[in-house]
């Protein structure tokens, strides 16, 4: 029953100084509300961007390269010897992934896995006396549309038309504009091998990524093999797996089995993912600062109350209240402010999310407007609430402790 007395006194004191209580509660509410909103926006946009990263490109790419050069035989034979070799040259061989057909077949047997052999290289696209250098990707349209979002980005034509058209190419809109190329026009493609072919534009895409839009050309794998003079060669295996989060592990396993450099989407975008970490640190420190200010508000108010209530504390103690009872009185006030602030903050967060949800942004270069990506999860509310409670209790703890250390005699002696 006695704890109810402490709570009763706490409630009475809070009610007595209604305005300050409301102000400090609102401080906490603002902190929680903005935490919920900004963290929903931040993690929403992070998810959105990661989703794009995952969808725009294959999860895993096997390349016909090796991470480390093969050791020279002399080092293998005499591992202990002091051997020095200079001016060694990499072995010349026809680049490409050995036996890629069997590897594709093996990968494709697993459920949820799409594997495609591709040949990449460079060429020059020439039209009306203008040249643009381009990256060539010889692909399988049937699989490519699952591996990347390129098919969704088609402005006109289709990736699938590569299969029906003879010697078709799909180019980006940027390149089309620079060269003045239109659908069904015949462009000249010149490879470094000196092979020149006339190819028909069967599709124009726009991804919003300038590099791709101005410099990427898709064609059938066999056309690329002819153009680059690498018959039957594929130098990339592009893989999509069921769970993108597993890409790093799968890539590591494939690399250790086949020896080829195998990159997961995480590895390719490591710098980008690193940015998210920095962004999160910035977000959480700003929101943390809001909460700290709110906590200082609570600390300030409860400290003031403790100072003003020294007489009441003294009389309660002389009446027989224990130091811990007194501490509870003030701790409860902090908890109360924290809990009410948390609930109000949740409401504020919901309102902010509603408002943010109606905001439409126009990405430059894209016709259609986009809604802000928001992540409305229990996590934001949970962490925001926890943050509020912990800071409120911590802010109340210090003055509450101080209150419990009041020596009644000092106060009463001073008053009489």
């Amino acid at each position: 029953m006695f704890w109810r007395v402490s709570i009763g006194i706490a409630a009475a004191q809070l009610a007595h100084r209604r305005r300050q209580t409301i102000v400090s509660t609102l401080g906490v509410a603002l902190g929680v509300g903005f935490f919920v909103a900004t963290s929903a926006l931040m993690s929403g946009s992070e998810k959105d961007m990661v989703q794009r990263l995952v969808d725009n490109a294959p999860h895993i790419t096997v390349k016909d390269e090796f991470r480390t050069a093969a050791p020279q035989p002399v080092f293998i034979v005499y591992p202990e010897a002091a051997v020095s070799l200079t001016s060694t040259k990499p072995r010349e061989y026809l680049r490409g992934i050995k036996n890629h057909g069997a590897k594709i077949e093996e990968l494709s047997r697993q459920t949820g896995v799409i594997a495609e052999a591709a040949l990449t290289g460079t060429a020059i696209v020439r039209y009306a006396a203008k040249d643009v250098s381009a990256g060539i990707a010889g692909i399988d349209p049937e699989k490519e549309r699952f591996l990347t979002t390129i098919e969704d980005d088609m402005q006109t034509g289709s990736l699938m038309r590569l299969k029906t058209a003879s010697q078709g190419i799909v180019i980006g809109q940027g390149m089309a504009i620079r060269l003045g190329l239109g659908m069904d026009d015949l462009a000249t493609v010149v490879s470094p091998e000196g092979i020149v072919r006339r190819m028909k534009v069967v599709g124009i895409f726009r991804t919003g990524n300038l590099l791709l839009d101005e410099g990427q050309v898709y064609m059938l794998l066999k056309d690329a093999q002819v153009l680059l003079n690498k018959p039957f060669v594929a130098n990339r295996i592009r893989i999509k797996i069921a769970d993108p989060d597993m890409a790093e592990e799968v890539a590591a396993e494939l690399e250790s089995r086949w020896g080829y450099r195998t990159e997961s989407w995480q590895e390719v975008n490591r710098d980008f993912l690193g940015l998210f970490v920095i962004r999160n640190i910035i977000t959480y420190s700003i929101v943390g600062a809001i909460m700290a200010v709110a906590a200082f508000g609570i600390f300030n108010i409860i400290s003031t109350v403790v100072m003003e209530k020294r007489r009441d504390i003294a009389i309660l103690m002389s009446m027989g209240f224990r130091a811990s009872d007194i501490q509870w009185v003030f701790l409860v006030q902090g908890v109360f402010v924290g809990v009410i602030g948390m609930v109000l903050g949740w409401l504020l967060g919901l309102i902010l999310l509603q408002m943010l949800g109606t905001v439409e942004i126009k990405v430059p270069g894209l016709m259609d407007t986009q809604k802000l990506p928001l992540e409305k999860g229990i996590f934001q509310f949970g962490v925001g609430g926890l943050f509020a409670l912990v800071s409120a209790i911590a802010a109340a703890w210090i003055p509450a402790r101080k209150a419990s250390q009041v020596r009644p005699v000092d106060i009463i002696r001073g008053a009489t």
Binding site: Q13, D312, R322, I412, R413
Partner: protein
Amino acid sequence: MTGAPIVELKGVTRVLQDAVPVTLVQDIDLVINRGEFVSITGASGSGKSSLLYLLGLLDLPTRGHVLIEGEDTAGFTPDHLADIRLAKLGFVFQFHFLLPEFTVLENVTLPMLRLGRLGEKEIHDRGMSLLADFQIADQANKRPDQLSGGQRQRVAVARALANDPPLVLADEPTGNLDMRNSEIVQAIFAELSAKQGRTVIAVTHDKDFADSAPRNVHLVDGRIERDIRR
């Protein structure tokens, strides 16, 4: 109940540790028996309030022992001392020290709620009957600041009696009151001792009040100079 004195001081000295140590009371030996009404007098600074705080376990002696009902309180934890104050002691100060956020009745019932010995209904009834004893039952739901000085002091006395303590300690209870109220409060203390059998110890500089007590302890410079029983 034991036959031991309700409160006893043995060789009690209290020194205030300051830049220059101040001796508040020195070598006090005092026995107060159950049911006594004792007034403590002395010039200001003679240590009479300090003596009261020691008797009421609000302050701890630098040397010597304070015995409550024959039990030495030396070494008791602060919580234990608080519990004794709650159940056995009632304080009345010069200033009423009522909690401004609570009504008169709530102020009186607070110690009972803390003790938790009675049910809610009984606590309410006892609070009302205490207020009735002092003719302030009609003020029960007012806030302390809506009462007159004399009424407030009566509420403070009612609160001191909330847990039916055998020992009531008062520090200048009439110090802030006019003649008429002073007489009322004085009469209340006399009655607490004479009719209710409580032990009352009151510090006062009011000669009338001091003389109304059957026993008077007079302090000079922190020592007992006279201890008279009439």
